[in-house]
Amino acid sequence: MSLLAIRDLSVTIGGRPVLDRVSLDLAPGEILALTGESGSGKSMTALATMGLLPQGARTEGAIRLDGTDLTTLPEAALCQFRGQAMGMVFQEPMTALNPVQRIGDQVAEVLTLRGAPRAEARRRAADTLARMGLDPERVPPSRFPHELSGGQRQRVGIAMAVAARPRLLVADEPTTALDVTTQARILDLLVGVVRDEGMGLLLITHDLAVVHGRADRIAVMQTGRIVEEGPVARVFAERRHAYTRALFAASRHRPALGPARTYGPLLDVAQVTRDYPLPRPHPFAKARKARALEDVSLTIRAGERVGLVGPSGCGKSTLTRAILGLERPDAGSVTLGGRPVRADRRDPDLRRRMQAVFQDPYGSFDPRQPVARLVAEPLHLLGRVPDAPDRVARALTAVGLAPEDGARSIHAFSGGQRQRIAIARALVTGPDLVVFDEAVSALDVRVRAGILDLIAGLSREEGLAYLFITHDLTVARGLCDRIVVMEAGRIVEDRATEDLFAAPAHPATERLIAAAPTLPAQHPSEEERP
């Protein structure tokens, strides 16, 4: 008999349908992955199971946990099930914990709520935290959340969810906000706990590669419906539904990059060092510093396609800011085409030659300006430009939008379209180098594939050189001739992409490659499919 049985679950929020006759089964000790793009309804299914749908939600159908239909339970009875019979792990470890309460107390609360005496609850909370890999010597239960790293916080989140030994665990994108290396460890922990305790796990993820090798069964969701469901091996091999096939294709999409063609030297980063001041413990203490970049050197040739990868906090962002001339390094120099890039001096002609595309498609645009004005902003660097409207129209066309889109407000565009507009803005001055700073990280796989094709096309046709900064090795591999790996403020490896993957020389590179989730190798016959 199944532990969790969802039958014909339909949910509307404020009249808008979000789930449409969803049915799922989860057996004790089983791991069921629920996957799909944003807006597919996978998170809503998780919240509906926990009875935590937002206000204004109407539910039809049944959610049975051990035979009890949760949808018919009054709120008070439902509270008895949460935490006790089912626990949940959330996506954002940075915000999911109460910032003003000690982690031990937050875990113990699950137990005291069920009537456990305080001392016993504390002891069991400490045990649970230790079992989740938080060494009591280094991370005692008396710590506050802000004293922990993202991965450690997610361990606390899991500890809270499993402290009362529930039979069902729901994990909503539990590792999406984490580094690849941390992601692998947290996933292993989650799977280990579930297997040890014989819980059922409903694992929500957008990343098919995460599912591979971990889940027993998979359900694929699209616009509120389950379109395909079955054992992971079978679904991965057969891919009966067109949407499943599209997701797979996009997930391992490799853009047609064309042969590497490089010309003369373009960007030269020479022995750059950057320190940040640390807060002083008291006003009379000596100033302390943290080194963000240590003696970093890097060159990019015209037309070259370089990837920059590394875990968070490795110095990627600081290096990016130094290259773009947004911050002045403490030592060393950055030159573009032989001219120094300096944060403290205006040099329109130099700026014109280097532009950037950022991660967040929503924060990248002044919400009060129409698209044409947003795209035209860098033209400021060229002085008076009589043909500005033409240039904007050409840039919009180059990224697959229509010139008429320039008159519209940025609010009218989706995340993927906004990234295209950001690329148009970067191209409008005809730069030699574009820095893509996690430019596809916030996008769904299919949209991401389109943007990757666009970038590859720009390189093929215009000979554009770029520096592609990403935490995702797979993306970097598909888009770059050369990959630079950073760790702890230093460049530890800088080699041609295929050499790097074939024989990583530095342990940091090895760790990154080992931790990166991968889809199973494609079936040979599939290569011929259109």
Binding site: E75, R82, G83, L113, H146, P279
Partner: protein, 314 residues
């Protein structure tokens, strides 16, 4: 925690130093010679000069500033030009009316605002919330001194439950508290309205946070999540307002004292202004500023108590 307190203490001392300089300079540029004012327009030049020497007005400014600050630190606020009594004694007498009044009002305002804000946040969007918010909207709009007049009209003149004004002194504490009740209510209600609104909106903001959802997933009811995890997090903006309110209440007390004929700092300062008794004005203003800066310091310490993140960072 200790180093945080130390840093705030240094900043407190700096603020006080600058504030004292500002107050001193403002009073310095004020027109009119206190000595001449005290003696009347018909006074002889040499009499005026003698009084100036006696009051120390002929010494250089820097010296007088240092002497004044030194006096402030040792509790010697100088001698009133008009009353010829020590300012410190005058201020201390009056402080025993104004300070209890402000604290009384602060307590009332907090006691009223917390249940109201909590209730409105818990019943967000429902009839109870709308009613509480409507009442606070009105409470904010009412000038406290006019509200005080209405209270006098109703409770003193028509019902005769309280006296219409005056202060019997602390020899009979019950009578003293009774005399301060209407003034405190008049001061507290508009502030309570502001505080309740801030608390409600802070709670509603916090209720949208991820960790409240986590708490619900642990099995806490909606109200348990609000009470155990929401309130403490919502306290940060609320503390800011409570701190600011103290200065409003102290200033408000000065005005309310006029309505109820209370012999507090307010009456003292208005008498001093009309008599150009600038040394009294200077001292009372400095005292008010000191109170505000001290409360800011205490608020900063309270932040650190509420929010562990502040104990480490700047």
């Amino acid at each position: 925690m200790l180093s945080y307190a130390l840093r705030r203490l240094v900043s407190l001392a700096l603020s006080l130093a600058v504030a004292s300089l500002v107050v001193f300079l403002v009073v310095e540029v004020a027109p009119g010679d206190p000595a001449r004012y005290m003696l009347g327009t018909g006074a002889q030049e040499d009499t005026v000069a003698a009084l100036r020497a006696e009051l120390g007005l002929d010494r250089p400014r820097v010296e007088r500033y240092l002497a004044w600050v030194g006096g402030l630190l040792t509790g010697d606020l100088g001698t009133s030009y008009t009353y010829r009594t020590p300012v410190a004694q005058m201020v201390a007498d009056r402080l025993w009316v104004s300070l209890p009044l402000a604290l009384f009002a602060l307590a009332l305002s907090t006691l009223l605002a917390f249940p109201a804000g909590l209730y409105a946040a818990a019943r967000r969007g429902r009839a109870g919330d709308v009613a509480v918010m409507g009442a606070t909207q009105l409470g904010i709009a009412v000038p406290n001194f006019w509200f005080a007049m209405l209270l006098v009209l109703l409770f003193a003149i028509n019902l005769g439950w309280f006296g219409a004004g005056g202060f019997p002194g602390w020899s009979d504490p019950l009578a003293a508290i009774k005399a301060l009740t209407l003034p405190a209510v008049a001061l507290a209600l508009p502030q309570a309205a502001i505080l309740a609104r801030v608390l409600r909106s802070a709670l509603i903001d916090v209720l949208g946070e991820d960790f409240i959802r986590t708490a619900r997933a642990k099995g806490l009811t909606r109200f348990q999540a609000l009470w155990r995890h929401g309130v403490r997090n919502a306290l940060i903006p609320v503390l800011t307002i409570v701190g600011l309110q103290f200065s409003f209440l102290l200033a408000g007390a000065i005005i309310i004292e006029q309505v109820f004929f209370l012999p507090g700092l307010g009456r003292l300062i208005f008498q001093a202004i009309s008599a150009r008794d600038l040394i009294v004005v200077e001292s009372v203003v400095m005292l008010l500023v000191f109170a505000v800066i001290l409360v800011t310091f205490l608020t900063d310490l309270a932040y650190a108590w509420v929010d562990p993140r502040l104990r480490r960072r700047r």
